[in-house]
Symmetry: C2
Subunit: 307 residues, 2 copies
């Protein structure tokens, strides 16, 4: 049963944007505000003043609501540092490491910590914000085990067992795509896509990703973005999606490591793109609802006895 009374202010504050949602205890979003202001590199005191300009109205209308924030706001360069919690970690470990913003004119503000993990060679990996979405997706999908994928600039692939994130890996797919498209010769032949050319280019990139053998083959296959255009074997308006399909396909095949299903958490557009890619590559992506971040924060507040 959905309640319409506000129970918390749910904030996702990363390096480039501030997103606040006035939410009910069941995760229903009642009101929302967004601003293109990142949490990193603000002057001392500026975080609080900025938050007051954004959600001061809610604070006056509903005094005392807890404010919970996920994302880079909890990094060393953010508002208050909530140090990385090492995997394996579930709601209990994450809630226990939440940081409280000291001395604020606002109601109680808690900041969710990020997670760290080690790969097989001992190299470190990190996430901030995605752990909250995964906790929300766990409850929303009813899955307590499996792969949870958060595609984007830095895609995260997390392995969950018994409701805890046991390890994860970051793939720089989105940022690598943007850097190659905008800052190498690969972008020079590209033209704006149509729906049909985008689908065709994406499918060809996915097929190429499945044919790669060695890791370094990726450094070769990206060059085909140029040569397919140069030889008129792909239209200019399919080239960006070819490159995108190649990189996303390589990410999925490496991230899934042979698994045939995963939960995907993200915007509808990105979720649809990964589901299409997964269909071509034999990985079934189950979508999670849009409000996973808020659902995860509610789970954390409950775990901490604050809701």
């Amino acid at each position: 049963m959905s309640s319409s009374s506000p129970a918390l202010v749910s904030v996702d504050w990363g390096t480039s944007a501030f997103r606040a949602r006035l939410a009910a205890a069941d995760g229903a979003i009642l009101e929302a505000v967004e601003a293109e202001v990142g949490a990193v590199g603000l002057a001392s005191g500026a975080h609080e003043a900025f938050v007051e300009t954004q959600i001061g109205d809610w604070m006056r209308r509903f005094p005392g609501l807890p404010i919970v924030m996920s994302g880079m706001v909890g990094s060393r360069q953010g508002w208050v540092e909530a140090p990385y919690v090492r995997c394996p970690a579930g709601a209990a470990e994450i809630a226990a490491a939440m940081a409280t913003v000291p001395a604020t004119r606002l109601a109680r503000v808690v900041v969710v910590p990020g997670l760290s993990a080690r790969d097989a060679r001992g190299a470190p990996d990190v996430m901030r914000g995605e752990e909250t979405q995964i906790l929300g997706a766990l409850g929303a999908t009813g899955h307590a085990d499996g792969l949870f994928v958060l595609p984007g600039t830095h895609s995260k692939w997390a392995r969950v067992e018994a409701g805890r994130i046991v390890d994860f890996a970051t793939f720089m797919t989105g940022e690598v795509f943007a850097a190659l498209k905008d800052h190498t010769l690969l972008g020079r032949l590209m033209a704006p896509a149509t729906d049909a050319s985008a689908a065709d280019g994406f499918a060809r990139g996915l097929a190429a990703s499945a044919a790669l053998e060695r890791p370094g083959d990726l450094l070769h296959a990206v060059f085909m973005t140029r040569t397919l255009g140069l030889f008129d074997e792909a239209p200019a308006n399919a080239l960006a999606d070819y490159l995108s399909g190649l990189l996303i396909g390589a990410e999925i095949l490496a991230g899934a490591q042979g698994a045939r299903e995963a939960v995907v958490v993200g915007s509808p557009a990105l979720t649809a793109r990964y589901r299409a890619a997964g269909e071509a590559l034999g990985v079934a992506f189950a979508p999670a609802p849009n409000n996973c971040a808020t659902l995860g924060q509610i789970a954390l507040l409950r775990q901490a006895g604050e809701l």
Copy 2:
């Protein structure tokens, strides 16, 4: 026996630089001029006028010398198009496809064609300029078979059999490195290297490249450039070389495809870097002399009966 009388003007004219060498028939470089002017996108007539400013003095002192040019000067956007010759191709096929610049006030100017190849999936690949260096390296090293590697912005790995280039693949290693370093968050923690930090970072990157399993793992491993710095597990002045070692290592392992030796053609600094990487990864790189481009052009002029 080295002759000191000039026999040709050997030109490498790519997208960013013009390099001309007054050379003897044995490939000895007698004089050289260079300018940061690319061959692509000049107005009609501008190529000839520019060349006259650069080598007019040689033309007056040694009238009638043939001028032979390799590189993007032979592309559709260059001075005169010398269409790609399809592999397999050796000196005979390449010389037969050389283009002559029409109606010039200069002596006879010939332009070397590029090569094209198809990979196992039928995707096209191209080179322009490197084919000439490979022909030169063939004569200079006495190898008529094997792998020839030209590292750089777009590294080329060519397989040679009986003196002919049978196929090749491009790896965008240098350009991907620059795009990731300068246009993603990976560059943010990097500090200028010392000799020791560069060697340490490069070795760690090479080791990481050897541990990659799936092609998409590369999209994950590049992110370690950030996390190793974030966790103070690599010094800031080792991070750029870590990324370089990771990418060069992945290139070598994919390009060599299990081969244990190759000839490397390039600048002394880049050749040394690939030899060090090859030593760590089990690929012995034999160096070729510096004047391979000129040696290749001499072989082509001889093949064409013009020298």
